[in-house]
Amino acid sequence: MKGQRFLGLGYLGPYIIGLLVFTAIPFFGSLYLSFTKYDLMSSPDWTGLANYERLFTRDRTFFKSLNVTLLYVLLTVPLKLAFALFIATVLNYRLQFIGLFRTAFYVPSILGGSIAIAVLWRYMFATEGLVNMALATIGLGPIDWFGDPTNALLTITLLRCWQFGSAMVIFLAALQSIDKSLYEAAAIDGAGKVRIFFFITLPLLTPVIFFNLIMQMVQAFQEFNGPYIITQGGPLKATYLLPLYIYEEAFKKFNMGYASAIAWVLFTIITVLTLIAFWSSKKWVYYAGDKRS
């Protein structure tokens, strides 16, 4: 039985090696690099806070990029989650073909991250593309999707929202697991549909809303393929999200130290927002029976 104690660790061996070599050491490595100047040719050169100083005082590209990233996340995450929840609510009803719809709505999530879809997006939102042709049939003039900074960001956001399927599947599963007797009890007490949704359904969904919110936020902050392929960060850096900036600094210009500093700023932002979400969750996330695990 004594051997059992270490047997578990044995099975965990590969994971532990991976954790150390590919996560823990790189994690602190990039923190160290962020205080250095390193171009891969000579060894890293300690420069103290110089990278951060440049970042926060002189780097206008960084501020533009940070702005755009925050705007993108603020736009994409609520829009996507609200839409996913809305469609899940519509689907959660005695409908036939519910499986068929669920599958259809999930398809974009399967393909969404691929380069092929980013390519498709470029064609769809081109000046003479599918979207403008569809708009023309209802009498709306052609929109310059990629030339206008706001519109360009919107196309990237739409690509993400198009992939609402996985969030929707999670919402739908949660909706279907809600005890029907709760609805019946509320209906007998005379509560209307809207009241039932806001006072019963929504509170019971808060754990999955919380889960989806964190996952989508972490993901949105790391968006790369969309802006890289569709808009190349343009126009006027309007879609130049921080991951793009980090990629170019690190792997185009080989400013490994500076890129690490940007990565750490991005990481800090994500961490602070995640912590705020966790902290605030005590106030708004409802756990059935208050069973916290």
């Binding site: 104690r5 047997l7 578990g8 660790l9 099975y11 965990l12 590969p14 994971y15 991976g18 954790l19 590919f22 996560t23 050491i25 790189p26 994690f27 990039s30 891969l40 469609i87 519509v90 009803y93 409908l95 719809f101 599958t103 709505f105 999930y106 398809v107 399967i110 393909l111 691929s114 380069i115 092929a116 879809i117 390519v119 498709l120 064609y123 769809m124 599918l130 042709m133 198009w162 599947v169 599963a173 949660a174 889960f211 989806n212 972490v218 790391q222 790369f224 393929n225 890289y228 991951p243 990629y247 690190a250 490994m256 890129a259 990565a263 750490w264 991005l266 990481f267 994500i270 995640t274």
Partner: protein
């Protein structure tokens, strides 16, 4: 007498209300269907259009929003397949396959081992280590990518598939570990105890009892890993530099950059081919995707 009339009134009232409720339900159902069809159409039309447009001539692609090509042509497929490199897309699909297969196998084995350890054993630092799974799950890759690149460079692994294989083969995709742990915890362990009593060691128990029970979740893991790897772009972009090692995603980006600006149907045709493996696998095994995502999420 009075009693009877009131109860009669009541039933009348009830039937009227029931009728109204049935009417409302019908109305609600109709609205729901209309909405779902509309959303479904808007969601899927771009994909349908993509398939149609890949058979169109270049001059037709931007001339109408319709799906059916007027003069169907395989030109896009034939010329697109050739690419402007010395290789055909066949080579790039083969590369994608070479990346995916070891990665999926490595993921399945290492994540099963990790999940087995977490769900069935007690050991020192278990809490901390399981905490690290959650931490990796939430840790943005962007923060570890640069040192990883430097590590792979020092190991001489750049421009090979090793940087794409090895982290996954060491259970680096915490999402899968988490998913399998959740699944395994929900399974009873009496079968395993029975096997133990019969003299099976822990490895035999894992292979003969646990893995078959885990099968549905493991299939989900393999399918997700297949899909994500097929779609992965940034990994190959950073680590692979020679064209003969490019997977489909990079090759597609390359053809956008190198194909002449008006040869749209080639790129669209290759886009269709690029998404087909994922689509085929998804439709063949959609049950596992939906279950995987809802079980992984709901218990989180």
């Amino acid at each position: 007498m009075t009693d009877i009339t009131t109860s009669n009134d009541l039933t009348m009232d009830e039937t009227a209300r029931a009728k109204r409720r049935a009417g409302l339900r019908l109305f609600s159902t109709a609205i729901r269907y209309a909405l779902l069809f509309l959303v479904g159409f808007v969601m899927l039309y771009p994909l349908i259009w993509l398939v149609g447009a890949s058979f169109k001539t270049n001059s037709e692609i931007f001339s109408g929003a319709g799906f059916l090509p007027q003069n169907p042509t395989l030109d896009g497929y034939i010329k697109g397949w050739q690419t402007s490199t010395p290789y055909t897309f066949g080579r790039f699909f083969w590369n994608s396959f070479l990346i995916i297969l070891p990665k999926v196998i490595g993921t399945a084995i290492s994540c099963t081992m990790a999940a087995y350890a977490f769900a069935r054993f007690d050991f020192p630092l278990k809490k901390v280590l399981f905490g690290s799974v959650i931490a990796i799950l939430l840790l943005p890759n962007v923060v570890t990518r640069i040192p990883q690149y430097i590590l792979f460079r020092d190991l001489g692994w750049l421009d090979s598939f090793l940087p794409l294989w090895v982290p996954s083969a060491l259970a680096g995709d915490a999402f899968f570990v988490f998913m399998l742990v959740q699944f395994l915890r929900s399974l009873p362990s009496d079968m395993e105890e029975a096997a133990r009593v019969d003299g099976a060691n822990s490895l035999q128990t894992l292979v003969y009892i646990v893995v078959p029970m885990l099968a549905p979740a493991l299939i989900s893991v393999c399918l997700f890993q297949f899909m994500w790897t097929m779609n992965d772009f940034l990994g190959p972009l950073i680590y692979l530099s020679s064209v003969d090692k490019y997977p489909v995603s990079l090759a597609l980006k390359l053809s956008i950059d190198t194909t002449e600006a008006f040869e749209w149907n080639r790129i669209l045709a290759m886009s269709v081919l690029a998404i087909s493996p994922a689509l085929i696998v998804f439709f063949a095994a959609q049950r596992y995707f939906i279950e995987g995502i809802s079980s992984g999420g709901i218990k989180g």
